[in-house]
Homo-oligomer: 236 residues x 2
């Protein structure tokens, strides 16, 4: 839990109830003592948010725990969507505590790939039409953004990453550095430095984030670095 | 310092020397005790990185402190650029500790604007040609990314934000929600919720981040929320 901020810790310690996916709650046993704990398995996000909102409406102080940053492709949005959908007046306060998102953690592990403009794109088409995702891949590739791919592949979704690479390859060299980070900051963390041409031979799964360099990104030792352009301005 | 992670704290505590911009070091006096401290004023990034690298090469353990996340438009890249430029073999280890970047903090303060694909774009044309920035603004606007603008305006650069809004307005309604967060998580933090049409009347400065919603982003109470699409899939 070396990336849990004091602000997040304080929020949990100020709560009566802590709700979260079991795997995350298991990481913070000392923060759960003396509190009501509602843990659940994967894929129950809607239930978890509903419970958090109901308990808050009943006057309890509730922490809904999310992995990474709750504000980046995570639980914060669902809570607001559901609260809004209920149509009732908001009788309690909702606060989002920022966290280290996968993109922050993966970038750090890879060196410094996000030194210039970047686009985060989720390849999951469960909630987003694939045409919209393709359009974003195309736009990001064309305009030379560093690209961070979330949800690149699962057991059932295996073709999206193949197609994404194809779209990006139309605009970028096969030598473009690519970093794959799986389970960043967790015990089973794995880091692979590869290239756009070779990336599909790397292990990419549900817990992976794939970072594709822009046209200036270089590989240097075991690092992936996107220069900002200081070299042209200063003598380094 | 409620957003300084234990990992960052540990890294500083394991160092012989701490180097950083004075304003940031002033926030962590208790971590500086008993260590050599090299603080400097704004705009000395190149000097700071050079010192950090020289001291590390001499065998010292050095922390180079950055605000936000050193890996997002910040110091990490410069360190790697300079180390690489020196042409020498790397005789020491370089580790990047991820942090809460402006985009994480600003998103949290605004509600949940980054629940869907987003692009981070810096409007500073000091190190990047303006044509490249315009092309990215155009691509991000066209493909309906949520857009996070870094370095939106300074005393000298006042026209970039005007032009950026114009480009985005060609693809998005003037009612699109926009959030402006200045000095996120600092004492002088300011949050403004406005719209693409009205955003230029808000206070935008050097320390601001501007978040422009996608075509689905809504304003709800004092929050800016980008729905993920759960509504279409589940009964909320």
């Amino acid at each position: 839990m070396s990336h849990l901020t004091p602000a997040a810790r304080d929020a949990i310690e100020a709560s009566d109830v802590v709700i979260g996916y079991r795997t995350y709650l298991d990481l913070i046993p000392e923060l759960l003592e003396g509190r009501e704990v509602i843990s659940s398995q994967m894929m129950k996000e809607v239930d978890r948010s509903r419970q958090a909102l109901d308990l808050a409406a009943a006057g309890r102080t509730v922490s809904l725990v999310s992995g990474g940053d709750p504000g980046i492709y995570a639980m914060a949005g669902l809570v607001f969507e559901m609260a809004r959908e209920s149509g009732e007046d908001l009788s309690f306060d909702i606060k989002v505590i920022p966290g280290i998102a996968a993109l922050n953690a993966c970038a750090a592990r890879l060196g410094a790939p996000l030194m210039h403009d970047f686009a985060a794109i989720s390849l999951s088409d469960l909630l987003t039409p694939w045409e919209v995702i393709e359009r974003r891949l195309e736009a990001a590739a064309m305009a030379d953004f560093v690209i961070v791919l979330y949800n690149p592949r699962s057991k059932k979704r295996t073709e999206q990453i193949v197609r994404a690479r194809e779209i990006i390859m139309a605009h970028r060299s096969p030598e473009t550095p690519v970093g794959i980070v799986t389970a960043a900051t967790r015990e089973n963390e794995e880091i692979t430095l590869t290239s756009l041409g070779e990336m599909l031979s790397g292990e990419i799964g549900m817990q992976s984030c794939v970072v594709i360099g822009n046209s200036n990104t270089v590989r240097w030792h075991d690092f992936m670095v996107t220069p900002r352009g200081y070299r042209d301005k200063y003598t380094l």
